[in-house]
Every structure is written in structure tokens, then in C-alpha cells.
């Protein structure tokens, strides 16, 4: 993990009684899965990385500083793709116009062409439709395509399969695997399904009560033990249990 090819985050954010306090560094390539119970802070972490929540601390992606003591890069200047559980396509635009929205604002950043992304996610026949006339799986694929076309430097996926039926979920997972192979794009993937994680993830970040620890896919044991020092014994047990779940 040398040089600039890392995502380095040291973020703190207090929301009511919840405390996000993470300090990690992961390779800026492949899929990093983020797992943990609901309420562990996974979504909050993604929102902080996207700049939608203002955390304290520092964050850099492939050597580019997104925030530190000296400043905060606004979300619209980060070049980050973010797909939430509910897709969030714009209701007043057709799928085609939704996809163009990010592309038109991507500037000169390199990336896949419109047609390429459309065919990668099998959206050809759906382009003229309004989001209200798409199924849940189609909406998610549309949202992922829209994020890809904004030519992101980092893609954040927040349980994109959570609201889908098993069939649509399998399809989307296949799409994601193909994307993963096709693109040089680091992905942070929040998931809860052990099978998904197994298929997609190159490494796993385990979150527990606002803290995060990296776990190597090969060893299956939390590698960043330093981050765990602040946790109590029972918290570490919980963490090991959820890490184990991910391996199953």
C-alpha cells in the first residue's frame, strides 16, 4: 500500500448520541466491502466520504485531498459516484436525461462512453422511460449507470441490492462483477449479504458502533488491530462475530 493509490480516511462525526470515529487506509482499487450491523455507521461513513455530511478530520483519495484541516471540497467538486438504497433517480427526467445529467457535468475526466455504460447495464430499451415506470432493479441499474457516467474517481454503493427481489439481485450482482473487472475504479460497497461480499469484495472493512477495522480477505482476521485498541473486549467479540458472518 504505497504511494498515492490509497483511500485514506480519518474522520469524526457526531450525530446525536452516535459517534463516527474512523481511521483507515485502503487500496484505491477493487471492491472494499463495508459490513456491520445496522446503526454501525456504514451509511454515515459513505455520506462523509461523499461530502454530504461534514465530518472533522482528513480524507484523501488517490493522493487528492478531499478534506483536511485546511479545507473541505464540496460534494459537487469531488467527482464521486454515490448510489443509495433507493436509487434516487430524478422523477421529472427520463432515464436517458438522468444518465446524461452526470455525464454533462463530468468535464474532461476520462471514462466509459454513454453507449458502453448503457449496454453494460442492459438499459438500451429503457432509456425513454420515466423512473416511475421502471422496476426496482431497473432503477438501481439506472442509478449505477448514472453514477458511472459522471466519471467518478470513487464509487460508493450503499446496499444497492437491499430493496430487490432475489432474481433482480442476482442480475445486479452479475452486472457489478462485470463492472468490477472492466473498470479501474475503486468501489466502497456497503452490504449485508455474506454471499454478495464473498463474490465481490477484495477486502472488508468491519464497522462497529462508529469504528472501522480492515480485514484482509486472505487471512480473514482483522489486520488493523491498532484501530481496535480503543474497543472493549465485548465489542471486539461482536466484531469478530460479524467478520465471521461475512466469511460464511
Amino acid at each position: 500500500m504505497s504511494g498515492d493509490a490509497v483511500i485514506k480516511a480519518q474522520l469524526r462525526r457526531r450525530l446525536g448520541s452516535f459517534d463516527l470515529d474512523v481511521d483507515f487506509s485502503v487500496p484505491a482499487e477493487g471492491v472494499t466491502a463495508i459490513i456491520g450491523r445496522s446503526g454501525a455507521g456504514k451509511t454515515t461513513l459513505l455520506r462523509c466520504i461523499a461530502g454530504l455530511e461534514r465530518a472533522l478530520g482528513s480524507l484523501s483519495v488517490r493522493g487528492e485531498v478531499w478534506q483536511d484541516a485546511g479545507g473541505f471540497v464540496e460534494p459537487h467538486r469531488r467527482g464521486v459516484g454515490y448510489v443509495s438504497q433507493d436509487a434516487g433517480l430524478f422523477a421529472h427526467l427520463s432515464l436517458r436525461a438522468n444518465l446524461r445529467y452526470g455525464l454533462d457535468r463530468a468535464g474532461k475526466r476520462p471514462g466509459l462512453a454513454f453507449d458502453e455504460v448503457v449496454s453494460l447495464l442492459s438499459l438500451e430499451t429503457l432509456l425513454p422511460r420515466s423512473p416511475a415506470k421502471l422496476s426496482g432493479g431497473e432503477r438501481q441499474r439506472g442509478a449505477i449507470a448514472r453514477a458511472l457516467l459522471s466519471r467518478p474517481r470513487l464509487l460508493l454503493l450503499d446496499e444497492p441490492t437491499a430493496s430487490l427481489d432475489p432474481e433482480a439481485r442476482r442480475e445486479l450482482l452479475g452486472d457489478l462483477e462485470r463492472l468490477h473487472r472492466r473498470l479501474d475504479l475503486p468501489i466502497l460497497y456497503v452490504g449485508h449479504d455474506a454471499l454478495e461480499i464473498e463474490r465481490l469484495a477484495d477486502r472488508t472493512l468491519v464497522m462497529h458502533q462508529g469504528r472501522a477495522a480492515l480485514q484482509d480477505k486472505a487471512s480473514g482476521r482483522p489486520a488493523a488491530m491498532a484501530a481496535l485498541e480503543r474497543l472493549s473486549e465485548s465489542e471486539v467479540r461482536d466484531l469478530a462475530a460479524s467478520a465471521l458472518m461475512a466469511r460464511l
Binding site: 460534494p75 459537487h76 457535468r105 453514477a147
Partner: protein
């Protein structure tokens, strides 16, 4: 007779246009800011609903009269008074109908919620860009409702326009006042014609706009 109708329609159109432009940033701020000050401003903006039109008209008459501090500021530009002028009428109507624009716009902006705006931001749209391309189109029903209410409310105005307009024929006399004057001079036939025309016209405007909204609603589902 057609002059008075022309003045009335002109007043309603200019008031509606000005209010949509003025109320939009105000409603946006009211919908987005978390400060308690928003409720102070919202209460002030809603005052014209509660105040009797004559009270509002009286204050406006004072404020737009030649001796007011406001008008003194305009003296160097050759403006002595706006009382009994069409401009004065527009100012009065804008203030009188302000709540009818602000309320539906604020509600429409609040109904959009954070998610579409956050999605626009991560896709590279700055605040103004996201406002123009996402917030405005998503709030278009609110704009339609605001336009209907302001237009109708301005046509139906009486107290405020009487106080600050003075009913000068061809300049500040509007249909509602003409009807009152016709009745006062016992010309019931003419009054009935004008009143019937106003009622029919108002119905047509509202009906047309509601049909547009209905069509728009169908298209979106």
C-alpha cells in the same frame, strides 16, 4: 369599459410575474434554512392574510405618499409619489398577495426533500445548477398553484387597490371598484354585466390551470 378590464388584467399579470420572481428565493430560503429566524420572516410574510386590506392599504398609502422617507429617497430620480399610480398598485398587490405565492412554493420546495438535491450534488451540480435543473422543475406544481392563487386574488382585490389606487379611470381603476361605483350610482344593469363577466373569466382561468395541472399529474404517473 374595456379600459378598466385591461387595467385589471394587466395588474393581475404583472403582480403574478413579479411575485413568482420575488417569492421564489424567499420560499427557498424558508424551506431550506434551519434557523428559527425563518419563522419570524414567515410570520411577517403571512401578515397580509390576517390584516384587513384597508389597514394594509393605509400603511401603503403613507409609505408611497410624497412625504414618506421611502419616497424621499426616490426624489432624486424624479419620483415624487407612487400613491395613485399603476406602479403603486402593483407594489400594493404584490405585498397583499405575497402569502399566496410564498406558502405553496415553500411547501413544494419542502416536499422535494434532500435526496434529489444530494444526488445532483454528487453528480457535479453546484447549488445554483441543482436549483435550476432539479428544484424548480420538481416544484412546478407549487408554481402553478401560486400563479393561480395570486392571479385570482389580485383580480378579486378591493380594499388595497381602493386605498392606494384611488380609482383613477384608465390608470388605477379596476373591475371590482368599477362594479362598486356602478352599484352606488344605481346602474345595476352595467354592474351585472361586469360582475357576470368577471365571474365567468375567473372561472375560465382557474379551470384552464386546473386542467393543465391534471394533465401534468397524469403525465408524471
Amino acid at each position: 369599459m374595456d379600459v378598466v378590464i385591461g387595467v385589471t388584467l394587466m395588474l393581475a399579470a404583472v403582480t403574478t410575474g413579479s411575485l413568482l420572481i420575488l417569492a421564489t428565493p424567499l420560499a427557498w430560503w424558508l424551506a431550506r434554512s434551519r434557523s428559527w429566524l425563518t419563522e419570524v420572516v414567515a410570520a411577517i410574510a403571512a401578515l397580509p392574510i390576517v390584516l384587513p386590506p384597508t389597514v394594509l392599504g393605509f400603511y401603503l398609502l403613507i409609505a408611497l405618499g410624497p412625504d414618506s422617507p421611502l419616497m424621499t429617497l426616490l426624489h432624486p430620480f424624479g419620483v415624487r409619489t407612487l400613491a395613485f399610480t399603476f406602479t403603486g398598485l402593483v407594489i400594493g398587490s404584490v405585498i397583499y398577495s405575497l402569502p399566496f405565492a410564498v406558502q405553496p412554493l415553500r411547501a413544494a420546495f419542502e416536499a422535494i426533500g434532500e435526496p434529489p438535491l444530494e444526488a445532483a450534488a454528487v453528480l457535479g451540480a453546484g447549488p445554483l445548477d441543482a436549483f435550476m435543473t432539479i428544484a424548480l422543475p420538481l416544484a412546478r406544481r407549487g408554481f402553478l398553484v401560486a400563479a393561480i392563487l395570486v392571479f385570482a386574488h389580485t383580480i378579486g382585490e378591493f380594499g388595497v387597490v381602493l386605498m392606494i389606487g384611488g380609482a383613477l379611470p384608465g390608470k388605477t381603476e379596476v373591475v371590482s371598484i368599477r362594479i362598486y361605483q356602478l352599484v352606488e350610482s344605481l346602474r345595476f344593469g352595467e354592474a351585472a354585466g361586469l360582475a357576470g363577466g368577471l365571474a365567468a373569466f375567473s372561472f375560465l382561468v382557474l379551470f384552464t390551470l386546473l386542467m393543465i395541472e391534471r394533465w401534468d399529474g397524469r403525465r408524471r404517473v
